[in-house]
């Protein structure tokens, strides 16, 4: 599925990613953990094509196709989804309208027919029900005046609706109380499937109690410093990132 080799990337003059390599096969969930400033968010932006992040070396491919030469929207159409750490507010555009426009843009790019209004609505009701969301929230301008937790839930709602293949979750647990965290985690777990892969970026081990990863990677100073099973997350929780940060 996703294959990253020796990735170097910079923001303005500062090199943030310094030779990062990672293989994420279909059907697996990998967690990326690391201290502040290690390059976790940069990795998510480089993979999804945000402007201002310059790749100086290395490759990232999705099922063999070069991701880095594609525009952000082209990557989205190929099934790359980023659940934002800080979702943006879109004044004047109801969440439903936003999502349907996005969905149809993706369908068009893939040469698929548009989703009908009734099918869309049916699915939206179903997914909103799973995530225990108030359906009226979807009629309000996207994320405007939403609480931190509501915004995160809205991200997962969008993710479930767009059914991407590569799911990148950037600090999805921040801003969620324990009940909301369970609901969101259930939503994410429901999307686990043999033809999907997930990259779960997180600071804390807490989220990984609910979304069980197949592998845990430690990202420090712009590269993968260690890789292990779920137990590595517990070790990090106990001992912190110090030894990796120092080693780098």
């Amino acid at each position: 599925m996703l294959s990253i080799k020796n990735l170097h990337a910079r923001v303005e003059a500062a090199e943030i990613l310094k030779g990062l390599s990672l293989d994420l096969p279909a059907g697996e969930v990998h967690a990326i953990m690391g201290p502040n400033g290690a390059g976790k968010s940069t990795l998510s932006y480089v993979l999804t094509g945000k402007q201002g992040y310059e790749v100086t070396q290395g490759t990232a491919t999705l099922d063999g196709e070069d991701l880095l030469s594609l525009e952000a929207n082209e990557r989205a159409a190929r099934g790359v989804f980023l659940s934002f750490q800080y979702p943006l507010e879109i004044p004047g555009v109801p969440a439903m309208t936003f999502l349907r426009t996005a969905m149809n843009a993706q369908h068009k790019a893939r040469g698929e027919p548009e989703i009908s209004a009734t099918d869309f609505l049916k699915r939206a009701r179903q997914v909103a029900g799973q995530l225990k969301m108030d359906f009226d929230m979807l009629k309000r301008p996207l994320n405007v005046g939403f609480s931190g937790g509501e915004k995160k839930r809205m991200e997962i709602f969008q993710m479930a609706m767009l059914s991407p293949r590569l799911l990148i979750l950037d600090e999805t647990d921040s801003g969620l109380d324990i009940d909301a965290l369970k609901i969101v985690a259930d939503g994410v777990n429901a999307l686990r499937s043999p033809d999907r892969a997930m990259l779960v970026i997180t600071h804390y081990q807490r989220l990984l109690d609910y979304i069980r990863p197949d592998k845990v990677h430690v990202l420090a100073a712009g590269r993968i410093a260690a890789t292990g099973g779920p137990e590595l997350a517990h070790e990090l929780e106990r001992e912190g990132y110090d030894k990796y940060a120092r080693a780098a």
Binding site: G49, A72, L88, I90, V93, L99, T101, A105, Q106
Partner: protein, 489 residues
């Protein structure tokens, strides 16, 4: 969002300015330049009565003594008023015509612009879709007005201004120049001397006009100005919704458009006036050509509890100078102003409104959305004033500017004057730049950069778009998209 989707599809199939073509027809011009004789020529061409000519000549005398205003935040070379034609008309007989008599080239022009001039075509449209009557003004004359019979059946007069002068002189005499006096300002005064054609509407007491009325202005002739004059009167308890649309060919020289619009509402009457202005904006790179849109629009809410609502979508013109205003004279009268002004390329706009509270308990509301892109400049200029007698006057103003890119400018110049202690004026203003983070967020969900801009802009202007009559809202949304094409990246 079907509308956004539609917009996106539509934009892909369009040129940047889609109305820039020229219609080849035989035209008749007045000699170039401006003089008392030209004023007489125009009046004679329109077979006007003596009093109308006198009125024009008096205005011309006043104009000679006036100076062109220079306070607006716009720059343009001095206009040579002698280097323009003040009358251009298709070579046809004067006066109302049936469609069979109209030059097929002109009919083709309106067809190309998507303006329905054949009543049966409107009627044959989507079932249940609201129909609307059209007055089509081509350069200096009105070529056709539709649905006149149906409107006359309920007593509504909808005709060209020239026809009104001939057929309804008592109404024209009673109201003309009572809202915008001939000497009001330089451009209004010029218009009063040389006005060509425009629309006249009278809705009798208690009548709710059964359909939308609209006027479609088209400048075609080169080196000519357009000076239309519109007068709308809603008598006691009457209601009318009126829309004007404007386009012009792409030409390298600047053309002057100096219109005057006067609205009068008597007790309990309401006029809803919408404008979709899409004059040729000039070349986006060089700034060459385009229309100078120097327009005076004013409503007099003369009657108690009367209401006027201005809605404008301004996307065209090289320079815009206009301030649709409401004089709230009647007790408890209401004025509203909803505006979207978009500038791109080298366009300059200085636009806003005036809400003048004279009567007790008068209320007004201003929602202005300015969008600047390219190397354009966009100024909101507004006046809200309450006179000593306007006790309990209320105003709410929301004035938002959106900047796209780094080379454009937005200015907000609100004037607020309260001359009594019992008025409540609220003013909110924001200026934001379309953020890269927002764009990225939308693109990450699958929209191209162009589509993302459109979605964000549509959200920004939504409060105003929803004030437009439904069938025009779709049109306006398309226009917004086209105007901002290529503004990012």
């Amino acid at each position: 969002m079907p509308a956004v989707k539609q917009t996106v599809d539509h934009v892909e199939s369009l040129e940047r300015y889609q109305h820039g073509f020229i219609t080849a027809i035989d035209q008749e011009f007045a000699p170039k330049g401006l003089s008392a004789d030209i004023v007489r020529f125009i009046s004679a061409k329109k077979q006007e009565p003596e009093w109308m000519l006198e009125w024009r000549l008096a205005a011309y005398e006043r104009w000679l003594a006036m100076d062109e205003p220079d306070w607006a935040k716009v720059n343009y070379p001095k206009i040579d008023y002698q280097d323009s034609y003040y009358y251009a008309a298709p070579k046809e007989k004067i006066g109302p015509m049936s469609l069979d008599e109209v030059d097929p080239e002109i009919l083709a022009t309106y067809a190309k612009l998507g303006i329905p001039l054949r009543e049966q075509e409107v009627l044959a449209g989507v079932q249940g879709a609201p129909k609307y009557a059209v007055d089509a003004v081509f350069d200096s004359v009105s070529v056709v007005t539709t649905f006149k019979k149906e409107l006359a059946a309920v007593g509504v007069i909808f005709c060209s201004f020239s026809e009104a002068v001939r057929e309804h002189p008592e109404l024209v005499k009673k109201y003309l120049g009572t809202v915008v006096p001939a000497s009001d300002n330089y451009f209004a005064c010029l218009n009063s001397a040389v006005f060509s054609d425009g629309s006249f509407v009278y809705v009798p007491p208690g009548v709710r006009c059964p359909m939308e009325l609209s006027t479609y202005f088209r400048i075609n002739a080169a080196e000519s100005g357009q000076f239309e004059r519109t007068l709308i009167i809603a008598d006691k308890g009457a209601y009318v919704s009126y829309l004007e649309g404007c386009t012009a060919p792409m030409r390298d020289e600047n053309q002057l458009h100096a219109a005057v619009v006067e609205l009068v509402t008597l007790d309990d009457a309401e006029i809803k006036y919408s404008t979709v202005q899409n004059w040729y904006p000039g070349d986006p790179e060089t700034g060459k050509g385009g229309i100078y849109n120097f327009v005076t629009k004013r409503a007099d809410c003369r009657g108690d509890r009367s209401k006027v609502s201005w809605t404008q979508v301004e996307t065209g013109s090289a320079i815009t100078w206009k301030y649709p205003s409401c004089v709230l004279r009647g007790k408890d009268s209401v004025g509203e102003f909803y505006s979207i002004a978009i500038t791109n390329g080298r366009q300059q706009a200085d636009t806003g409104t005036k809400m003048i509270h004279l009567g007790e308990g008068t209320r007004s509301r201003i929602i202005s959305k300015g969008i600047s892109a390219g190397r354009s400049s966009n100024t909101y200029r507004g006046l809200v004033s309450a006179h000593p007698k306007a006790k309990g006057a209320r105003n709410f103003t929301q004035c938002d500017s959106l900047l796209i890119g780094k080379t454009c400018a937005a200015h907000t110049v609100p004037y607020i004057e309260a001359r009594n202690g019992q008025s409540v004026f609220e003013h909110e203003a924001t200026t934001t730049r379309l953020s890269d983070d927002q764009l990225f967020y939308v693109m990450q969900r699958g929209l191209s950069q162009e589509e993302a801009v459109q979605l964000l802009v549509n959200g920004f202007v939504k409060d105003v778009l929803q004030e437009l009559p439904m069938e025009f809202a779709v049109e306006a949304q398309k226009l917004v998209a086209i105007s901002l094409e290529g503004s990012v990246g």
